[in-house]
């Protein structure tokens, strides 16, 4: 790895302006979302979208979202956090153990298994959603949390990433010296390897978290019981109810404020953990 930035280089104002203009494009929808969450329905329709209205209505709107339909939004949020949290921890553990084994052991059949797993990176998860639904429905797993957690535990790309990461992050000598000290293979994994694999694990965890948190198709198919919905399916339901006109215009600000609340946790997680996932992603991109 390299380089602290070379500070003598001059900054370019043309390049800076171009990039900041692009950044504005990426930021504006979220700015709009925030501003719109602070408006009451009247202002939402009557005032310019990218500036505040006459009143600051954010907290009333949040209250409306949380109490709408007997507070189902709170339930959806808890569901989402539960599905995503369990899936991400599980996916990270499973992928770490497998990636570590592929990187550090040469066992009969390892090459064949690796090539099957790498090939599976190309399989689109959405192509699997329909057959998975049919299988789960005959096993009576639909309308249970497992319907969304089980498929989310498998991340072939996570295994690939951990494999690449482990092969450079855990030196062979360290494993050997552990063996000489009489430690078993699992002890070495728990006590030595896991600590060194930190950034890789956080990366797989975070991307599995985002994948499940943001998943829409799978829960849409799997759940017919509204109390099991994650936020994504719930918001989509409200939006279509609002658009079909069956509800009053108030539903617009409920959907907008609900959307605003739902984007906060992941943005915070990414900002907070950025040092880890940037290192982790660098590994995947390098050898990809």
């Amino acid at each position: 790895m390299r380089k602290p930035f070379n500070d003598e280089k001059q900054r370019s104002s043309i390049l800076s302006i171009a990039l900041w203009a692009c950044a504005a494009y990426f930021a504006l929808p979220l700015v709009w979302l925030f501003i719109s969450s602070t408006k009451d329905t009247g202002d939402l329709f009557a005032t310019f979208g990218l500036w505040f209205g006459s009143t600051f209505h954010l907290f009333q709107n949040i209250g409306d979202v949380l109490s709408y339909q007997d507070g189902i939004f709170v339930r959806w949020t808890v569901n989402t956090a539960f599905y995503a949290g369990v899936s991400a921890v599980g996916a990270a553990l499973v992928a770490t153990a497998a990636g570590y084994a592929f990187a550090k052991y040469q066992f009969p059949g390892s090459r064949a298994v690796i090539s099957v797993i790498l090939g599976a990176i190309m399989i689109p998860s959405t192509a699997l959603a329909i057959p998975t639904y049919l299988l789960f429905s005959s096993a009576q797993l639909t309308n249970t949390p497992l319907a969304i957690i089980l498929p989310s535990l498998v991340s072939p790309f996570g295994v690939f990433l951990m494999m690449v990461y482990a092969s450079s992050a855990v030196p062979k000598e360290l494993i050997e010296s552990g063996r000489i000290d009489g430690a078993g293979e699992f002890q070495i994994f728990w006590r030595v390897a896991l600590r060194l694999l930190g950034p890789g694990i956080v990366t797989v965890f975070l991307f599995a978290l985002v994948h499940t948190w943001n998943n829409y198709l799978l829960p849409l198919i799997m759940f017919s019981d509204g109390r099991l919905y994650p936020i994504t399916v719930g918001l989509a339901l409200w939006q279509s109810q609002g658009a079909s006109g069956g509800y009053s215009e108030d539903l617009f600000s409920v959907v907008i404020t609900g959307s605003f609340i739902s984007v906060l946790p992941l943005i915070i997680a990414f900002l907070y953990l950025q040092r880890y996932w940037q290192t982790g992603l660098a590994t995947g991109g390098l050898k990809g």
Partner: protein, 303 residues
Amino acid sequence: MSQGVALRRKNVTRRKQNIAAYLFITPFVILFVAMLLVPLFYSGYLSLFKTQLVGGTVFDGLGNYIRAATDPLFLASIGRVALILLIQVPIMLGLALFFALAIDSGRVHGSKFVRLIIFVPYAVPGVVGALMWGYLYGRDFGPISQAFHAVGLPVPDLLSSDLILGSVMNISTWQFAGYNMIILYSALRAIPTEMYDAAQVDGAGQFRIAWSIKIPTIRPALVLTLIFSIIGSFQLFTEPSLLYSIAPSAIGQAFSPNLYAYNQAFVNQVTNYAAAIAFLLGFVIMIVSYVVQLPLLRKEKVQ
């Protein structure tokens, strides 16, 4: 004799290590088989049957595939994916590469902040992204139409059937350009400076260095982003599915192959045909991704 003991001991530790390795991969392999391979083969199996009003489910060979190959709705949806691959993916990856190179050049004020802002949409759920842009495009209180109105220009209907594909492309670009930028930027950061110190001494400019040194060096990362983008384009579902409620006629039943498969399975209840579409889709993606990788693999062999 002592050699024999040593050899046996070596075999024992070898076997112990193999067992440990198998145990490490067992959880993943079980899940992989149950959640990936079984559904995949099951969908391949289902796709060979059809359900009739009279006679129930009967074997139909490749009937569903022949039907898909001549189904105008399915072919149109594939056509839209092809347009996305030809237009949206190059724009998005071009932008991502430009951002990554600009930030890596160290010539941008506040580059750390810019990088985060561009990346943030990736953390926004696709549903919320589609919802937001749907409102932004809309004529009720969308700022785009407000702005056109304010300067007295005719307001474009971004949700009409003429413009909707572009509107969907814009959502995908907004959502994923930053993710690709981060992958490319990480690869750029890993290039040793010595590689272009010499070029700088020789008087090569920034553009020259970017074109002849940086871009060729990060080719593996570029291929990775390309493959992910191809997979993503074929999987398109959330955006058209969300926009359907505000623009039903522009989106229709088969905007993307995935939306079509979903509607076939859950609205029209033609499961076998839906399975064939899903299976075909997976197959097409694997072939396209493989073809994309070919030139790279060949190049590496030559070197």
